[in-house]
């Protein structure tokens, strides 16, 4: 089954230049971007529709890495719906991660005690249908 990863991580290393410090953001996959006729609003990271300039994707970036931090890619729903319909595609979204100690503390490992990694994992899966997400996992 062919599956398209809908986004790509932008991981340009920041040690090359003081002017390249934007690593860790995300962009819509090229396949979707070209189908929707989008371009990147350089030097910003939003993507917009050619000709009109209407914003199509947004980056959520705030906080400090590994503490309270958000790094997300959002797409306008009508564009996503149009792409999925024209390509006869469905969309699944996984949200998963771990509950852990706060590793800014020196006693983090001690606080966690003994555990299996499966004990700490949380995971959810959603199927996107008819304009809404329905949880299946």
């Amino acid at each position: 089954v062919s599956v398209l990863v809908t986004a790509r991580d932008y991981t340009w290393e920041d040690y090359h230049s003081t002017e390249n410090q934007a690593g860790g953001i995300h962009f819509l996959a090229k396949e979707i971007s070209e189908h929707l006729n989008l371009y990147v609003q350089i030097p910003g990271t939003t993507m917009a529709i050619r000709k009109s300039g209407d914003v199509a994707t947004m980056s959520v970036q705030n906080g400090v890495d590994y503490k309270n931090h958000e790094s997300l890619l959002l797409i306008r729903q009508d564009l996503l719906d149009g792409y999925l319909k024209e390509k006869n595609l469905a969309l699944i979204l996984f949200a998963w991660g771990e509950r852990r100690a706060n590793y800014t503390r020196e006693d983090a490992r001690l606080l966690e005690g003994d555990f299996e990694i499966s004990d700490a994992i949380h995971k959810q899966g959603f199927l996107y249908e008819n304009g809404r997400f329905r949880r299946f996992l």
Partner: protein, 349 residues
């Protein structure tokens, strides 16, 4: 200049209110680039892998606006792998000053000589100086820097001075490179392009990992908090928290009507969120995949089998993730879904 021009091209090729740039400046620039760098009689053709890439990508953007800008024969001449242009006969010379370098004035330096040049050859371990192809690459680099005019006697004093102020580049991305190293970088990129044409690079990426700068110079955005409600609503100990089975409440924020004052609705496709309190933390990856609707109509039930969240296996440039079990029309079976990288490129370029 090519990098800067490519940066400008990326910024304006599709921007509204840039009609003159799109209809005249960029096409004219691309035609000139083709004639000077890729035509049969091009006077400035090069195997310099970055210079060539900046020029090619600029032409590519112009072709998005004017597909007829180049005829089929000309398009072929701008299609890798190249067989003409630049230095095609690489001579080899031993390092003439091998025993004379002092106080950091070597044009290659230890890390550059070992790691950077090492990335041009296949099947070599770090610090394996007996690798035959690696030895050849070193001799070719030395030949080229001498050919460009490098001489230890000319640059030793200034390079020693620069070396005294050098820090690890990880801590100082704006540091000054030694003159000798600048010669070496030019030779490195030229040889990289030549070896790419011959299929001698040890990796199959379209852009070399030593690409150095992204000339679009993206600015990292700063935005309001998206998940404003805490995911850590647990008063017990950290150990109890780990075993609590608690899931972050994300479902009500997968689609929002507006964000940061910009009307949507907006849908989450991808990302990572960390939340921490005094002694607890939780992180969540978001990953969306599109697949044929037939999968949806069959009402597949997926569960994610992964002991290390966020980890996926890369093999032969294909990414796979295991989803199991699947229940199709009442029959259980294990389903392995292979997620194929359709392009393998980074998103912005």
């Amino acid at each position: 200049m090519l990098a800067a021009s490519y940066g400008v091209s990326m910024a304006f090729w599709a921007a509204p209110r840039a009609a003159r740039f799109q209809q005249r400046l960029l096409p004219n620039y691309a035609r000139a680039l083709f004639a000077l760098m890729f035509g049969q009689q091009a006077q400035h053709s090069t195997t310099h892998i970055l210079a060539r890439d900046y020029a090619l990508r600029s032409i590519e953007l112009a072709l998005k606006i004017q597909p007829q800008l180049l005829n089929p024969t000309e398009r072929l001449l701008t299609t890798p792998l190249f067989t003409i242009g630049g230095i095609r006969n690489w001579d080899e010379v031993e390092d003439k000053d091998d025993e004379k370098y002092r106080l950091g004035d070597s044009p290659l330096g230890m890390d550059f000589g070992n790691y950077t040049l090492g990335r041009l050859v296949s099947g070599r371990s770090a610090y394996d100086n007996k690798h035959l192809d690696y030895q050849r690459v070193r001799r070719q680099i030395m030949w080229r820097i001498y050919d460009l005019g490098y001489r230890l006697g000319t640059f030793s004093a200034i390079d020693q001075e620069i070396a005294r102020f050098a820090y690890d580049r990880g801590n100082n991305p704006g540091k000054t490179d030694r003159y000798g190293k600048k010669y070496a970088w030019i030779a490195f990129y030229e040889l990289a392009g030549y070896r790419q044409d011959l299929g001698l690079l040890p990796y199959d990426e379209k852009r070399i990992s030593d690409a150095d700068i992204d000339p679009s110079f993206p600015v990292k955005p700063s935005s309001p908090t998206y998940f404003t409600e805490s995911w850590i609503l647990h008063d017990g100990s950290v150990a109890e928290w780990l075993h609590s089975g608690s899931c972050p409440d994300v479902e009500n924020r997968l689609i929002v009507q507006e964000f940061a004052g910009v009307p949507g609705p907006w849908v989450i496709l991808h990302g990572l969120v960390d939340q921490s309190t005094g002694d607890k933390t939780i992180f969540t990856f978001f990953r969306a995949y599109s697949l044929h609707r037939l999968m949806c109509l069959l009402r597949l039930k997926f569960s994610l089998r992964s002991n290390i969240p966020g980890t996926m296996r890369y093999r032969n440039r294909k990414m796979s993730i295991t989803l199991t079990p699947a229940r199709i029309l009442g029959a259980k079976l294990g389903a392995i879904v292979y997620l194929q990288h359709q392009s393998g490129r980074r998103a912005t370029r």
